[in-house]
Structure formats: structure tokens, C-alpha cells
């Protein structure tokens, strides 16, 4: 029997075991005299405890109990007999077990009611038991000292404890019940932090719950299962601890957290949201960088042919002289152009190095997976953003409430920002009031309309103009590229013009938008849309011009190919060499070569990125920092107040910055296929701009006057990013699918199309049946049905979501009706229910009562007893979350308990009364 005890609590150390044995002794004594609870409740099982164990006091107690109830628990009786038959190794243990079982029985009755309540006390009991076990009488003195609530629970907990140690003898359902309880406790522990209780309460609750779990989870499972269970529990605990440590570690690892929080407290969440976005972008780019560097650049550098071995990896003779000049390198010409940073450097060998690494294949797959990964990550973060806000469509219904309850940004820790915030909240209040009052009144609608049309016309003119300008400049640059001795400006004209347009158009748009007289928020949206259109237009004109260039180069390719061919032919066949000695191969620098258009495109994007970065930094330095310095220091000797008046300090332009970031990312996506090094440059750019912009914001910007919230536009930005990603995917996909790669550079040279590399791999490296499967999958007969299926799925999901939102609306109506019905009830009941704002979900106290009813139904024994229990022992709120919410209510709502639960709760009443009567003196004492 001791064995099973050990098995029962495998988690316990030897010391604990002995202590628990002692504890059993003590338990018995409790059972005997003190604890009316167990006796009374345990009446059914009464007959068995007495015999084997305690000869003296015990018997009397059991007799008493017998008298009290007289209905023996059948099962318990049988068991006890069995046990007796089995023999008791020590006088103590059987006694222990029996009491344990008895308690356990009773416990089964009570469990639900005081689940939480009981468990926590165990430890204390145990401690107490040490002292008590020596002499039974002693405990009598000790108990009174304890709190009533504790006393009340003690019997139960100790019974549980003993039942746990009784191990084997537990029946299945008992086990199941304990298991359930333990699970509930665990849930409670997990959700404790989201309970609105003061810390002290949470602490006691937590400790109780933990102790309970620790104690009883060992009792679960039988025989071998126990060990396994204990092991699992141990592992689970370790795992929780590990997870927590890991979380701690993770939060420590988030970069720039303090910087961003600093900014957050000065400028509110909107400015910080830009930096969070920047950080997110940095993370995404790091992954892309890892992909490209790990799978393409590093293998090429390590295992590919070295520089100078073949023409595509060598600087041509004509450029050799200047190839190392800084001005040339800065333009990504010379040695940089013939390096692994660009497409042209890669060889079309199928496998490289001793690993037989399939580089062209890897290059292609990485190019695809860059887009794949970006798509997935953007969509995922969009989805997680939308998850939080469920009622997006409903937000119109709560304009005033939102302004009232959610407009304050608690992060603001700067009094200046706070003043701005006060002002902006006041204006928004006034605006919305005015809107409400005059929503129907429209003054001079014709003039407004005319102005808006005019403004849009002007802006479209601007957009077209900028588009044409870019097209013109790109065309001109193609002419420049053919000429020799072009100046620095002529070389970089495209980038300069694009950057200047990006700098000056948005303010111009803003000025024009003043004509329209929109509401600020609508105005902001228009502004964002227009800037987006501008950037997009510029990017696409640039691409179109570039495409023209590419086609031109492709047309020339044929002639160059012939020239190369002839050069080589002439070289090897020319006379003057001894026929017997093979000629040394032509030096790679001398081989004439085509104008690898892929590298040219890559270089364009590279330059664009770098110049964009520089322009951004210079704008920040001049526009923000110098302006701030000027305002700050010249203010001492100026005729008007510079800080409040005209120049003042710059505000941080969130939308502009975010859009800039998005478009920069678009360029990276487009360019990374042709210039694998581009992502590396971008990572550097993001890193520096993180530090630089953080510094600039803190040093030279002032908080917004019109502080607007971040998160609302967060998904908007993500949506823009997704759009840009899609738009940048198009040209790349077009070039891959429909342009022939250059004949003498890049990993796909010599192939008809770039994607041929896939086919080649499938044919050569996979078994033939796989090739067939792929061919079958690529069949339009299969693809078109698949697309149709997707459309159907979209249609279906769409209609489902519509019907769900309809159901939602109906439920809302129902709630309203319910509330009205309930209000009439309320007037009858008075304020009884009104009090519990703390724990009862107010939404419908009717619901609450219903909930309680169901609760009572599901957990019969708890029904009647919980009341007696909770009234007294509510202090350390012990029950699980569900009962927690309802319990306080039960205190106030005795009426709500329907008599109908009687049958459901079965034996509950029969137990209550004995309990009450028996425990009358000690347990039912009032709490105070």
C-alpha cells in the first residue's frame, strides 16, 4: 500500500512522502473530530474508515457519522472491505487510505462547488499536519486559530490530498473529475493575468491553484500511467518555464525597442508606427538578404569560376583603365558591374563546385521565392492586423463614442504633445458636432464642385507632366549612354529628376488640395492616393522607358552575337600559327560581348535606390535639421517669433515617409532578380535610416498638430505595400516569361527563356514520371478549372461572410430587445443586480443568471453548496473563471436560483443538510 501511495504522488520527494504520511495521520484526526464537513458529507462511506486504523477516537467519530446519515456508500464499502482483506502493512496506512477515500467521496460531491477553494490550502494543511500528527488532540487547539474559510476548505482539500495518495483505489470517474479540476486550475493559471483583480488577490489565487495542480496531478493516471503522467507534467512545467524564458529573451532581442518607445512617448503612436513599420521592413529584408546571399551569392563566390576566367566575369579591355576609379565604381560600372552583385556575372554551367550545386536553378528559385515570401509575409501581417478589429464596417456608428473613449493616446508623456492633443480632440469634437448639426446643409455646392474638379484636373496635369518628364529623361539618357565623355549630371539625370519630382510634387499636391476644402481625414486619403499615383506613374514610366531600351538591346544582340562568333573564328583560324600547337585561348577581356540587358536593368535599380537614399538623407538634413537649427538659434535675433511663426519646426511627415519606404521596397523587389546585391544595399539603407531618422525626429521635429491615430492606417499601408508588391511582380514576371535572356551573360544564357531552367532540371534530374506529372499539371485544361474553382471558393466565402454579418446584426437587435425586457425586470428587482459591475458581465444580467443556471445544471453538486460556501469563503476567490464571474452574482441573486434544479443536482440536497448541520458550529461561522 505504501507503494501505491508513492505511485500516487510520483512528483513528491521522499521527504514529502513522509510528510504526507504524517499528514494522513493528521487527516484522520481531522476527520474524526474536527472537521464536521468530511464527516457529514462522508456519511455514505462512513462505515469503512473506522475499523483498521484508529482505535480510539476514530471509531467514535465514525459512529457519530453513521448515526447522522446511516446510508452507507456502496462502493466505498466494498472497497474498504477489499482493502481490509488485503491486509494493512502498517496501522497508519490503511487508516490513511480509508479516510482518504472517504474524504474523496465526499469531495466528489463537493468538488465543483469549491474546486479552487479547496486545493490551495493543501500545503498549509500539510505543514500543519506535521505538528498535528504527533498528537491528535493538539490539532483541536490549532484549528481554531485558523481562519474560518481555511477551516472550511481544509477538510476537503485534505480529503483530496489523501485521495491522491490513495492512488490506486480511485475510480475512473474520480480520476476524470480530478483531471478536469486540474485542467481547470491550469486554465485559471493561464488566464489569471487577464482578470481584473488586484495583485494581492491574484497572487493568493495563483498560489492556491498552483499548489492544487502540483498536488493532484500526481494522482492522475494509474499504475504505470502515473509515472508517465508525472513525467509529462514535469515536462510540461519545464516547457512552460522554457517558453517564458524564451519570451523574455525574445523581448530582449527586439531591436530598437527603447528608441521607438522613446519616440512613442514624445510623438504619440502615429510617428512610432512609421518606425515600427521600418523595423518590420528591415526584418523582411534581412530574410530576403539571407535567402539571396546564402543560396546565390555565397555559392557563386565560393564555388563558381573565379573572376577573369571567362568573358562575362572580366572587365572588357576598353574599360579596364578606368575600372577602378571611384567615379566609375560609384556608378556601379567597372569592377562592380562585373561582380557577383549583378546578374551578368553568373555562369550558365548547370552545376558548380564539388557539391554539384545547381546555380542557375537556385538563382531562379530564389528569385521566385523572394516574391513568394514577401507575399506571404505581407498578407499574413495584414490578416493579423484585421483580426483585432472585427467591426470595421460598424465604425461609422460610433464616431462620437470613439472620439470620446479612445481618442486619448496614453503614450503621450510630453506636455507639448499633450497640449496639441487637447487642441486636436477639442477641434474634432467641435467638428463632429457641427457636422452632426449641419449634415444636411450644403453651402454653394456648385463652387465646391467646380473647385474640386479644377483641383483634380490640375493634379492630373501634374501627374502626366511628371510622367512625360521621366520618359523624356530616360530616352535622353539612352542617347547619352551611347556618347563618350558625358558629364556627371548627364549620367545621373534620370535619378535626379525622379528624386526631385518625388520631393516637390507632394507639397504641390497639398497646395492644390487646399482648393478642395475636404474634411481633413478625407483630404489625407486623397493626398495619399495622389502621391501613390505619382510614385507609381513615375516608376512605371521609368520601367517602360527601360523596357524600350531592353528591346533595343535585344534587337542588337543578333549582330553582336555574329561579331563575337566571327572574332573567335578568325582568332582560332588565322594563319601565322603552327597548326600542331593549339592556340592559347583568347584572353577573356578581349572577347567582344553583348550589352547584357539584365545587368543594365539591375544597375538602373541600384542607382535609383542609392540616389533615393541620398536624397532622403539630404532632405532630412536640410529640411529638418538645418531648419530646426536656424529657427532655434536665430530666434534670439529675429523680428518675429520664428518658432511659432513662419518657418517653425518641421513635422514628421508620416505618410510621405511610409510611401517612400513602400516604393523603395517596390524597387528592391523589382531589381533583386537582376541585381542580387540590391537587397544587401537595402538592408544597409534601412539600418542607417533607422538610426538617422530616429535621431532626426528626436532632435529636430515637433509633434503633429493634427495627431492622427496610427493603427487605423496601418492596414492601409500594408494594402499599399501589397499593391506595390503585385505591381513590381508584373514586370519581373513579364521579363522572365517573355524576353529571351542575353546570350553571353547570366545563369540563363543560351536558353530560349529563363524558365527553361525549370524544365531542364525536371527533365534531367527527376525521374521521368515526375516530368510527366509536371507537364500534366501545366496543362491549361487543368489550370483553367483550378482558377474557376478558386473563383467559386471566393464567391462562397464572400457570401458566408455576408450572411455572418447579417446574423451579427440580428443578434445585436436581439440583445437590445432582451435588454429592454430585462429593464422592466430590473425595476422590480431593484438594484440587486446593478452592483456587480466588477465581475458580472453586465451586458445582460439576464444572461448572467442563465449562465448560472446552466452552470448549476452541469455541475450539480456545486449548486446548493456553493452558496453556503461562497458567502463565507469568498475572500480568496477560488473557483475557475466561469464560476468566478457568476459567483458574486449568486450572492445577490438568490431568487434567480430556480427550484427546478433539484432533479439535476441529484444528491446535492441530501448532502447539504448534513454538511450544514454538522458543520454548523465550526464551518458556518460568519466570515468576520
Amino acid at each position: 500500500m505504501p507503494r501505491c501511495h508513492i505511485l500516487g504522488c510520483p512528483v513528491l520527494s521522499p521527504a514529502e512522502l513522509t510528510s504526507s504520511r504524517n499528514h494522513l495521520g493528521r487527516l484522520i484526526s481531522h476527520g474524526r473530530g474536527h472537521f464536521p464537513g468530511p464527516e457529514a458529507v462522508g456519511t455514505r462511506t462512513v462505515h469503512f474508515p473506522a475499523p483498521a486504523g484508529d482505535r480510539l477516537g476514530r471509531r467514535s467519530s465514525s459512529k457519530r457519522a453513521l448515526k447522522a446519515e446511516g446510508t452507507p456508500g456502496r462502493r466505498g464499502a466494498q472497497r474498504s472491505q477489499k482493502e481490509r482483506a488485503g491486509g494493512s502493512p502498517s496501522p497508519g496506512s490503511p487508516r490513511r487510505k480509508q479516510t482518504g477515500r472517504r474524504r474523496h467521496r465526499e469531495e466528489l460531491g463537493e468538488q465543483e462547488r469549491g474546486k479552487a477553494a479547496c486545493e490551495g490550502r493543501r500545503k498549509r494543511d500539510e505543514r500543519a499536519s506535521f505538528k498535528e500528527q504527533t498528537a491528535a488532540p493538539k490539532k483541536e487547539k490549532e484549528i481554531p486559530r485558523k481562519e474560518k474559510s481555511k477551516r472550511q476548505k481544509k477538510p476537503r482539500s485534505s480529503s483530496l490530498a489523501s485521495s491522491a495518495s490513495g492512488g490506486e483505489s480511485l475510480s475512473e470517474e474520480e480520476l476524470a473529475r480530478i483531471l478536469e479540476q486540474v485542467e481547470e486550475k491550469k486554465k485559471l493559471i493561464a488566464t489569471m493575468r487577464s482578470k481584473p483583480w488586484p495583485m494581492a488577490k491574484k497572487l493568493t489565487e495563483l498560489r492556491e491553484a498552483q499548489e492544487f495542480v502540483e498536488k493532484y496531478e500526481g494522482a492522475l493516471g494509474k499504475g504505470k500511467g502515473k509515472r508517465l503522467y508525472a513525467y509529462k507534467m514535469l515536462m510540461a512545467k519545464k516547457w512552460v518555464k522554457f517558453k517564458r524564458d524564451f519570451d523574455n529573451f525574445k523581448t530582449q532581442c527586439i531591436p530598437w525597442e527603447m528608441k521607438i518607445k522613446d519616440i512613442e512617448s514624445h510623438f504619440g503612436s502615429s510617428v512610432a508606427s512609421y518606425f515600427i513599420f521600418l523595423r518590420w521592413m528591415y526584418g523582411v529584408n534581412l530574410v530576403l538578404f539571407g535567402l539571396i546571399f546564402g543560396l546565390v551569392i555565397i555559392p557563386e563566390v565560393l564555388m563558381g569560376m573565379p573572376y577573369g576566367s571567362i568573358p562575362r566575369k572580366t572587365v572588357p579591355r576598353a574599360e579596364e583603365e578606368k575600372a577602378m576609379d571611384f567615379s566609375v565604381l560609384w556608378d556601379f560600372e567597372g569592377y562592380v558591374k562585373y561582380s557577383a552583385l549583378f546578374y551578368g556575372y553568373y555562369n550558365n554551367q548547370r552545376t558548380i563546385g564539388w557539391l554539384r550545386y545547381r546555380l542557375p536553378m537556385a538563382y531562379f528559385m530564389v528569385g521566385v521565392s523572394v516574391f513568394g515570401y514577401s507575399l506571404i509575409i505581407v498578407i499574413r501581417s495584414m490578416a493579423s492586423n484585421t483580426q483585432g478589429s472585427t467591426g470595421e464596417g460598424e465604425s461609422d456608428n460610433f464616431t462620437f463614442s470613439f472620439k470620446m473613449f479612445t481618442s486619448w493616446d496614453y503614450l503621450i508623456g510630453n506636455s507639448e504633445t499633450a497640449d496639441n492633443k487637447y487642441a486636436s480632440i477639442t477641434t474634432s469634437f467641435k467638428e463632429s458636432i457641427v457636422d452632426e448639426q449641419e449634415s444636411n446643409k450644403e453651402e454653394n455646392i456648385h463652387l465646391t464642385r467646380f473647385l474640386r474638379v479644377l483641383a483634380n484636373f490640375l493634379i492630373i496635369c501634374c501627374l502626366c507632366g511628371s510622367g512625360y518628364l521621366i520618359y523624356f529623361v530616360v530616352k535622353r539618357s539612352q542617347q547619352f549612354s551611347k556618347m563618350q565623355n558625358v558629364s556627371w549630371y548627364e549620367r545621373n539625370e534620370v535619378e535626379i529628376v525622379m528624386s526631385l519630382l518625388g520631393m516637390f510634387c507632394p507639397p504641390l499636391f497639398e497646395t492644390i488640395a487646399a482648393l478642395e476644402n475636404y474634411h481633413p481625414r478625407t483630404g489625407l486619403k486623397w493626398q495619399l492616393g495622389r502621391i501613390f499615383a505619382l510614385f507609381l506613374g513615375n516608376l512605371y514610366t521609368f520601367l517602360l522607358a527601360l523596357m524600350d531600351d531592353v528591346h533595343l538591346k535585344l534587337a542588337n544582340e543578333e549582330t553582336i552575337k555574329n561579331i563575337t562568333h566571327w572574332t573567335l573564328f578568325n582568332y582560332y583560324n588565322s594563319s601565322g600559327w603552327n597548326e600542331s600547337v593549339p592556340r592559347p585561348p583568347l584572353h577573356p577581356a578581349d572577347v567582344p560581348r553583348g550589352s547584357c540587358w539584365e545587368t543594365a536593368v539591375g544597375i538602373e535599380f541600384m542607382r535609383l535606390t542609392v540616389s533615393d537614399m541620398l536624397v532622403t538623407y539630404i532632405t532630412i538634413l536640410l529640411g529638418d535639421f538645418l531648419r530646426a537649427c536656424f529657427v532655434r538659434f536665430m530666434n534670439y535675433c529675429w523680428c518675429w517669433d520664428l518658432e511659432a511663426g513662419f518657418p517653425s519646426y518641421a513635422e514628421f511627415d508620416i505618410s510621405g515617409n511610409v510611401l517612400g519606404l513602400i516604393f523603395n521596397q517596390g524597387m528592391i523587389w523589382m531589381g533583386s532578380f537582376y541585381a542580387p546585391g540590391l537587397v544587401g544595399i537595402n538592408v544597409l539603407r534601412l539600418l542607417t535610416s533607422m538610426y538617422f531618422q530616429c535621431w532626426a525626429v528626436m532632435s529636430s521635429n515637433v509633434p503633429h498638430e493634427r495627431v492622427f491615430k496610427a493603427s487605423r492606417s496601418n492596414n492601409f499601408y500594408m494594402g499599399l505595400l501589397l499593391l506595390v508588391l503585385f505591381l513590381s511582380l508584373l514586370p519581373v514576371a513579364y521579363t522572365i516569361m517573355s524576353l529571351p535572356p542575353s546570350f553571353d551573360c547570366g545563369p540563363f544564357s543560351g536558353k530560349n527563356r529563363m524558365y527553361d531552367v525549370l524544365q531542364e532540371t525536371i527533365e534531367n534530374d527527376f525521374p521521368t514520371f515526375l516530368g510527366k506529372i509536371f507537364a500534366f499539371l501545366a496543362n491549361p485544361g487543368l489550370i483553367i478549372p483550378a482558377i474557376l474553382l478558386m473563383f467559386l471558393a471566393i464567391y462562397y466565402l464572400n457570401s458566408v461572410s455576408k450572411s455572418l454579418s447579417r446574423a451579427n446584426a440580428q443578434l445585436r437587435k436581439k440583445i437590445q430587445v432582451l435588454r429592454e425586457v430585462e429593464k422592466s425586470h430590473k425595476s422590480v428587482k431593484g438594484k440587486a443586480t446593478a452592483r456587480d459591475s466588477e465581475d458580472t458581465p453586465k451586458s445582460s444580467s439576464k444572461n448572467a443568471t442563465q449562465l448560472q443556471l446552466t452552470k448549476e445544471e452541469t455541475t450539480p453538486p456545486s449548486a446548493s453548496q456553493s452558496q453556503a460556501m461562497d458567502k463565507k469563503a469568498q475572500g480568496p476567490g477560488t473557483s475557475n473563471s466561469a464560476s468566478r464571474t457568476t459567483l458574486p452574482a449568486s450572492g445577490h441573486l438568490p431568487i434567480s436560483r430556480p427550484p427546478g434544479i433539484g432533479p439535476d443536482s441529484g444528491h446535492a440536497p441530501s448532502q447539504t443538510h448534513p454538511w450544514r448541520s454538522a458543520s454548523g458550529k465550526s464551518a458556518q461561522r460568519p466570515p468576520h
Binding site: 482578470k195 495583485m199 462620437f400 470613439f402 479612445t406 486619448w408 440583445i815
Partner: protein
């Protein structure tokens, strides 16, 4: 003070981590808040604890900075209110009152302080945030937001300046509108569930109901 004696015990720390949305570093950092008196800030206490505990300690007078006493110590509101993070907040008094567990409601213990930070932390659930927001806005602590509460709330939001105050008619209009939107059962007050109903639809409540120390 030095040595392990002045650290929060591991068990306590683990429990605090279970009970709040804070990480270990944050809890520790938070304790030193009580005395912002220059050099003393960098006392022993600072080195021993980190975030929460440290910030809390800063608020305490020198003699109370050992862990044992700092856990028991009560920090009066004036000192809490002087925290830079709360200085500009129009609800600072309310926040302190709501989180205070002392009988007189005039001081915060370390545990109250942790509660506060936990609720205002990044990872706290919207439910608990809105619960406490409701209690903060419920100026008379009667469990519902009535017109009186709402007008005090508006006054808090519009600041003390005369020019930013709303006129009486504007105020009435505003409160009428709010009640019309949020008071589902039309009993003239907004209760917790109605409040949470509204808040749960707000896209940016959870992101702005944050305080970072």
C-alpha cells in the same frame, strides 16, 4: 542591500510574470520609481533590480529601498503623478485611484504598480484594457457612466485651457450623441458591457491605451 538579499525572490518574480503581461526585465525595472532625486537614483537599488522594481524604488525614500520594505511600501499619489510618463495624462489621478488598493485610496504599493503597468502594457488583452478604461472613466465609481461622468471625461479630454473648453450646449449635444450611439438599453447611462461593446469595435483603442515606462 547588496547581494541576493535585495533582489525580488525568484518565486515571486515568476508569479508576477504569470500574473501580469510584463516580462521579467520589465517587472524588475519597474520597481525603482519612487525618488527621482538625482544621484540617489543610481544607488544600490538601481543595480540590483531592473525595470519595474527599479522604477518603483526610485520613488521610495532611501531607507525603504531594500526589497522587503519596497514590497510593502506605499507610494503616495503625488510621487506617482510626477512620473514623466504620467505627467501629461489627464486621467492620472483616476488611474492612480483605480489601481490603488490601500484603504484610503491615496497610495500605490508595488503590486498595484505592477497591476497598472500590466494593464497598460503592449500585450494585455483588449478585454482587461477596456475593463480598466471603464473604471478610469467612471469618475464617481458607481459602476456606470452617467452624464456627469461623461461631461467630466470630456473636460479631461479637452484640457484645462479656456479656449479649448466646450460650451454647455456643445457639451449637451455631444453627450446626447454619445448616449445615442452607445447606450443600447436606453437607460441613460453606459454600463460596462455597453462600453466594451463600443470599445471592441474601435480599431485603435488597444494601441493607444498603453503606458510605457
Amino acid at each position: 542591500m547588496g547581494g541576493s538579499g535585495s533582489r525580488l525572490s525568484k518565486e515571486l518574480l515568476a508569479e508576477y510574470q504569470d500574473l501580469t503581461f510584463l516580462t521579467k526585465q520589465e517587472i524588475l525595472l519597474r520597481e525603482v520609481l519612487d525618488n527621482e532625486t538625482g544621484s540617489e537614483r543610481f544607488g544600490d537599488c538601481l543595480r540590483q533590480h531592473s525595470e519595474a522594481h527599479r522604477r518603483f524604488c526610485e520613488l521610495l525614500p532611501q531607507e525603504q529601498r531594500s526589497v522587503e520594505s519596497s514590497l510593502r511600501a506605499q507610494v503616495p499619489f503625488e510621487q506617482i503623478l510626477s512620473l514623466p510618463e504620467l505627467k501629461a495624462n489627464p486621467f492620472k489621478e483616476r488611474i492612480c485611484r483605480v489601481f490603488s488598493t490601500s484603504p484610503a485610496k491615496d497610495s500605490l504599493s508595488f503590486e498595484d504598480f505592477l497591476d497598472l503597468l500590466s494593464v497598460f502594457s503592449d500585450t494585455a488583452t483588449p478585454d482587461i484594457k477596456s475593463h480598466y478604461a471603464f473604471r478610469i472613466f467612471d469618475f464617481d465609481d458607481d459602476g456606470t457612466l452617467n452624464r456627469e461622468d461623461l461631461s467630466r471625461l470630456v473636460n479631461c479630454l479637452t484640457g484645462e485651457g479656456e479656449d479649448t473648453r466646450l460650451s454647455a450646449s456643445e457639451m449637451k449635444q455631444l453627450i446626447d450623441n454619445i448616449l445615442e450611439e452607445s447606450d443600447i438599453d436606453r437607460d441613460g447611462t453606459i454600463n460596462l458591457s455597453e462600453f466594451q461593446h463600443v470599445i471592441s469595435r474601435s480599431p485603435d483603442f488597444a494601441s493607444s491605451f498603453k503606458i510605457v515606462l
